[in-house]
Structures are given as structure tokens and as C-alpha cells.
Symmetry: C2
């Protein structure tokens, strides 16, 4: 039943990882610098590499992330598959592929993954073909190797969507936090301002944050109340059909 | 820089399509029956097949859907990549693959797509290796070939999420519709009851439906008001940061 005149695609498969890092004030992405190739500037790219024969896609993504950056055991979610036939054909990418791959012209379909971590918990260590691995602010990312800029944009869209529907950001804050810190987290990740009063009202009304009998100390402004995340209330909201924060 | 002792994955790539059909009362999925293989019951599966060498993934998905079911020019969105190394190893699937593929043991990574259409606009016509192509109610889907049940579940989750944030359902209703029809559409797709009064209030408050100076005729109950979708208002909501209906 197979078509006789056309060849079936028989590509390599890679995994590319978009690791977002938050540090209370900024959203950054973990990028690597590939070894430079003569005649071309150093290229920044997402950490990514080819998958092995018997590997599961998700596990391969974690192995590759670890090999290139030292990060391990990261909860990765899929962004999707990227398989444009011309995704590797930029001259600088071809030059690099010729230096490191046996068959630089082979088509590669990549499966992209993303995650959000507290940047301060992870000190990247470049290895394998990564010359350096570092956190780069989302405001400074413009050109990346291959189709990695497109992949990064798709991942950012997923992250923004996710933070509107799930309290993933709480993992990035200390156990005790102020509502200003939480508000800042949402603004940084969504990349836009959110009305502060509205934000506070929403969070308090949903009862997923709970005020503690404790205030900031030694701050130059009026000390703010500390809060903690109430996972129990959040879970019962979910069970009752809640599915977004409405911003 | 390539690992020397491990072989890189060099699989085939397929596209599988989860086409949801709505007919005012039910949500169904377009499935095909593969030619039966001796010793095994007929298997239902998603329409899917292998991608050709120079094909773009998205275009391949539409080509394959067309070849197997006759549907064409469908707006497909990606669900994601499914690449479990054992996804083809059920005995019935292996028997079928042996009958139709040159290398039945080759690993296949599949890219899954989904769409939502008005079932009455599409009369599927089975061809290629599909023996039949038909709409099956989501309540009757339990076992499918390969990992297609898992793919179907992931697609349904995406669909539910999408209908909460975008007015995709309006395309499935006639130009003039009643709020009961719209309410029913949301209940059927979300698979749960929604408070009717709340639903009406939300839709009217958002001003994305607009009442017409016209009522149902010849109905055995009190005739309902007709409404139409106000795309202009919806678009300006989107521009102002609206991103979900809150149910």
C-alpha cells in the first residue's frame, strides 16, 4: 500500500530545549554557543542534539540538555515538532553541520521542549559541543541558529498561556513572598503590565494565597505582608472547574 | 562531536489526524478501518500515514488526511510528537504493518494534528488502505490501533482548552443561532454541563454575540431569539487582553 514513486522521509530526530529562567526581575533563556566555524560569527542556539535509536523522546531531551549544559532532572513539556525541510539550510548552520556531522545534509525533524526554572538554582556548565552555556535575557534574543528563534517564540507563547491557567510561578518564589513579588513574576513572564490592585484582589479572592502573620523587616519602605501559596485551595478550585486566572 | 558508540535514531515520520466533528448534538471523531489482517479483528485507527522525503510536516498531514478520507483543505493544528519506541508493537498492529510495510519493524515517530469541523459539511470517502472512514461518537471510542487512543485524548484536551479561549465554535453554528444552540455546543465539546444562566450572561456581557430582531418560527416551545457572532467586538476584546471565557 506504500506509494511507489515517492521516497518516504527517513530523517534524524533531535530534541531542542527552551529553558526559561526567572530571577525575580527578569526572564531569561538558557542558550549555548557552538564552537565557531571559520568565516562565521559565533552562533547562539538552544541546547539540542540528535536522539539515539532506542531512546524515548522525552528522556532524550533531558539527556541532551544535561550533556550540553549540566542541568538535569528538569520537568520538560513538549512545544511541538518542527520539520521544515529547509530548517538547516542557513549558510552558517551548514558550515557548522559540515564540521560536526557525518551527513550534514540529512533532514532533521526536531522535537522542542520547554521548562521554567528558578535561574538561581541552576549554574549551567557547558560541555560536549557547547563552548559556553549562559542565561540570556528575552530582550536580547533576536537571532539564533537554525529555526531556534521560531521555536523559542512558540515556547514563550506556551509559557505565557500556562502561567495564566496554572500557578506554576509559585515554585519560583521563596516559601514566604509578598504580593508585589508575585505580581512582578506575572508581569515579567507575560511581558506586560498588570493592574496591581486588580491582581491582588484576584489572588486573594481565589484564596490560593494565604496571608501569614509576618511582615518584611529592614526594608526602606512600608513593610509588606508575607503570603504563602495554598495548594489545597488551588486543588479544590481545579476540581470545581477553575481553569484560569483571567489575565 | 557525535557519540561514537550509540546509533542515532533514523526513523520514518508519520502524520496522524484527529478530526473532531460536531453536529449540534454530538462530538464525533473521524476514524478509519484498516483492511483486516488474518487472525485479528478489524482495527479502528486515526487517519495517518508516512510522510515523504521533501514534504513539510503540516502539508503532509493534509495530503494524508485527503488520501485516506477524502477531506481536504482542513485547518490542522499540531497536537505534538509521539515517539514511544514501543508505540507500534501491539501484536495486531505488527501483523498489519507486516502486510503493508516493507520494513514493519522500523521505528516511526508520528506528528499528531487536530481540527474541529461541522460534521455535516464533510462526507468522508475511504480510499488508499482505509476500508471505511466514518464519524464515531467520542462516547464510543475506547480502543484504537497503535498509540492512537493516547493521541486522541491529547487532542481532545487541546480542543477543550482552545474552545475556552477562542470562539472557534461559532464556525460550526448557522449564521443565526439561539443561545441554547451555542450553550449546547460548549457543553458537548467540554463534555460537562454549564450553568445556562451564567453562560448566557457571560456571552452577552462580552458582547461577542449580538441579538437579531428575529425569533424562531414553528417551534413547539416559546420561540427563542436569534443571535449572530460579532467578530469585530471579539477582535477588540482580544486586543485588550481578553484571553478566555472563564469556563
Amino acid at each position: 500500500m506504500e506509494s511507489k514513486n515517492k521516497h518516504q522521509l527517513n530523517p534524524r530526530i533531535s530534541a531542542d530545549c527552551v529553558i526559561f529562567g526567572f530571577d525575580f526581575n527578569q526572564l531569561k533563556v538558557l542558550l549555548i554557543e557552538r564552537e565557531p566555524v571559520e568565516g562565521f560569527d559565533v552562533s547562539l542556539s538552544l541546547p539540542g542534539d540528535l536522539i539515539f535509536e532506542d531512546e524515548d523522546l522525552d528522556m532524550a531531551a533531558n539527556r541532551i540538555l544535561n550533556e550540553l549544559t549540566g542541568l538535569y532532572n528538569i520537568f520538560l513539556e513538549q512545544v511541538g515538532a518542527f520539520g521544515n525541510p529547509h530548517r538547516l539550510s542557513k549558510a552558517s548552520d551548514q558550515a557548522w553541520l559540515k564540521a560536526v556531522r557525518q551527513k550534514p545534509n540529512e533532514r532533521v525533524v526536531t522535537i522542542a521542549y520547554y521548562s521554567l526554572v528558578n535561574m538561581n538554582d541552576y549554574q549551567p556548565q557547558a560541555s560536549s559541543f557547547a563552548k559556553t552555556a549562559c542565561w540570556v535575557s528575552v530582550h536580547e534574543i533576536n537571532e539564533l541558529a537554525f529555526d531556534h528563534f521560531e521555536i523559542y517564540q512558540a515556547a514563550l507563547k506556551k509559557l505565557k498561556n500556562k502561567i495564566k491557567t496554572q500557578p506554576i510561578g509559585f515554585n519560583l518564589l521563596p516559601e514566604k513572598f509578598t504580593l508585589s513579588q508575585l505580581h512582578r513574576l506575572y508581569e515579567v513572564i507575560l511581558g506586560r503590565t498588570l493592574d496591581k490592585r486588580n491582581f491582588r484582589r484576584k489572588m486573594l479572592k481565589l484564596k490560593i494565597v494565604e496571608s501569614l502573620d509576618e511582615k518584611q523587616e529592614g526594608v526602606p519602605h512600608k513593610p509588606s505582608q508575607f503570603f504563602k501559596f495554598n495548594e489545597l485551595n488551588y486543588n479544590s478550585l481545579i476540581e470545581n472547574g477553575f481553569d484560569n486566572f483571567g489575565f
